[in-house]
Amino acid sequence: MTQAKSTRADALLDELDTGLAEGELPAGLFGNQEIYDRELRSIFGRCWVFLAHESEIEAKGDYVLRKIGEDNFIVIRDEEGGINVLFDACRHRGVQVCRADSGNTSHFRCPYHGWTYNAKGDLVGAPLWRNAFGGMPKEGNGLSKAARVQSYHGLIFATLDPSAPPLEEYLGGMAWYLDLLFGLNEHGMEVVGPPQRFVIDANWKSGSENFAGDDYHLGTLHRSVWEIGAFPVPFRENMMGYHIQAAPGHSLSFSMAPTEDEPGPKFFGFPEELAETFDTSRISDHQLEIARRSRVMVANVFPNFSMLALPMTEDGANHAPTGVVTIRMWQPHGVGQVEIWNWFCVYKNMTPEQKDRAYKAGLGTFSMGGAFEMDDTEPWITVSRTGRSVAADLLDFKLNYQMGMPGVGIAKQVEDWPGPGIAFWTRYEEGVQRNLYRHYADMMRAEPGTWPKSSFDE
């Protein structure tokens, strides 16, 4: 990349590079327009990003309209059952060809001149074809497609960069942890209904870093949820567990008691009858054991796909907490806005009653009307405001990400952790976030066609 002159964004990325070793981030990362514009190309234009769950488009012709960065893509199942991710722009004049959020169709017809495409994105015709286009090949005039599309546990990802490593290599050590949430039995998971969507005035990275393993905020921001009995593990006990840098960029956190015989929630609070179906058909003994001991798992797949599994209730007086799984996208929507797409997942072999209970508990806690989530958006709005501020620049204002660094707090690296990545015991630790921003910094500076390492071992 040849930069004519150094810009404010370059300076911010320099500050990030040097600051990370000290646990310091420049606030401008959360509000600088040029940084944001670069993210759209260097992060969202290159990384594998989540689009949909396969259970949303089960039948041939089923489609949903989703986004990579700020751009619309049609995710559609074709006649052969294959999944296509098509750029929603007619090859003729660039007009949007899909104008619904979801549906079922055999083709898309552009409303402008009538160019018509099938579910694979191939151009199949236009009005009075011979008069207008006779002699012109249809081949090569189809809809543009994502460079690659792959699923993992039914989670559909795509990348616009043909030089991207295969999805499993991109996920690296994170795949092992996705396995122990989504692959606990042979049935796997499905989503309940279409996603909730809401827009708040915050930067997308605030969501990603929160789900990378910010457990410490629960005691203050979410204190109200204990007062109403929505979550069964007290704050101090819930800080016990592991912080894991699964692979560069991908981080997660488990709430786990110090001993395996603690009586609290097992398997993220999933119903016992469901947990009886969990086995090692798709995962190892170690993975099953970690899931069994875990009260909470929260994770972020770089850049902006997050998940959370934990026992929750929307009505502590009448219902015991049950395992809730939310997956969500922190979709960039300009430097100062994020669109949150929120799905709830259930195991396919749960009873209708169990699914309904999990859905209600999820809605009442981790949705925009939920007791947890409605407080989360509050601080992120002002993080973004600070990120835009001139004062932050003039005062050389740095954000503190030092928790768990050597000499800071009680977190210690675990030497005999059975899974991939770097693990710390106790969750008083922000290495999970530094890992996210280390990889972010590397992606923001990577030359086109080159990739930062996807494993700590390389």
Partner: protein, 177 residues
């Protein structure tokens, strides 16, 4: 949720009672008197839902998705939300946002089977600001309610809020519709 019986005429005693009920409800909610609203105006059997809406082609209907919600509440979960807003740690609403319910187009229908039930449809506009905001957050939609007379007083038995939005543009849904 259109009632099964006759339309209740504007100006009749029942119509006036329903409109007064709606005005009282809006007044309590706008004044943060949520517990009073819950205890005096909501039935223990309430079902209170805000379904998810999608943009779909005209042939596929209005886009509301059966069984998928922004909110799906019972009395217990509404109580939980009221209690949350009363704690000292509900940061999202402390300082509280300012809200105003505008209720218009109240249409009342009797129930053919049950004289204690009335169905009410109304248009709702919520005007919300927070902190120094000058641009309001607006939520607009239709409420489809069923009120039931319990011990002489009307109470909210069923509320479905059909929003005119597919993407919600307010910082949280800690408010009541």
């Amino acid at each position: 949720m259109v009632g099964t019986g006759a339309r209740v005429r504007v100006g009749s005693a029942l119509y006036n009672e329903v409109v007064e009920w709606m005005d009282t409800e809006a007044e309590l909610l706008d004044a943060y008197r949520e517990r009073e609203w819950l205890e005096a105006m909501v039935s223990r059997d309430v079902v209170y839902q805000v379904p998810i809406r999608q943009t779909v082609e005209r042939a596929r209907g209005t886009g509301f998705v059966a069984g998928a919600f922004h909110l799906d509440e019972t009395y217990g979960s509404l109580e939980s939300r009221v209690a949350r807003n009363e704690t000292a740690y509900a940061w999202a609403e402390d300082p509280p946002s300012r809200i105003r319910h505008f209720v218009t187009g109240v249409r009342v229908t009797e129930d053919a089977e049950d004289a204690d039930l009335v169905s009410v449809r109304s248009n709702l506009l919520i005007f919300r600001t927070r902190q120094e905001q000058t641009q309001p957050q607006l939520l607009s939609g239709e409420r489809q309610d069923r009120l039931r007379r319990e011990d002489g007083a009307l109470r909210l038995l069923r509320r479905e809020v059909l929003l005119d939005l597919t993407v919600i543009g307010t910082h949280n849904l800690s408010i009541f519709f």
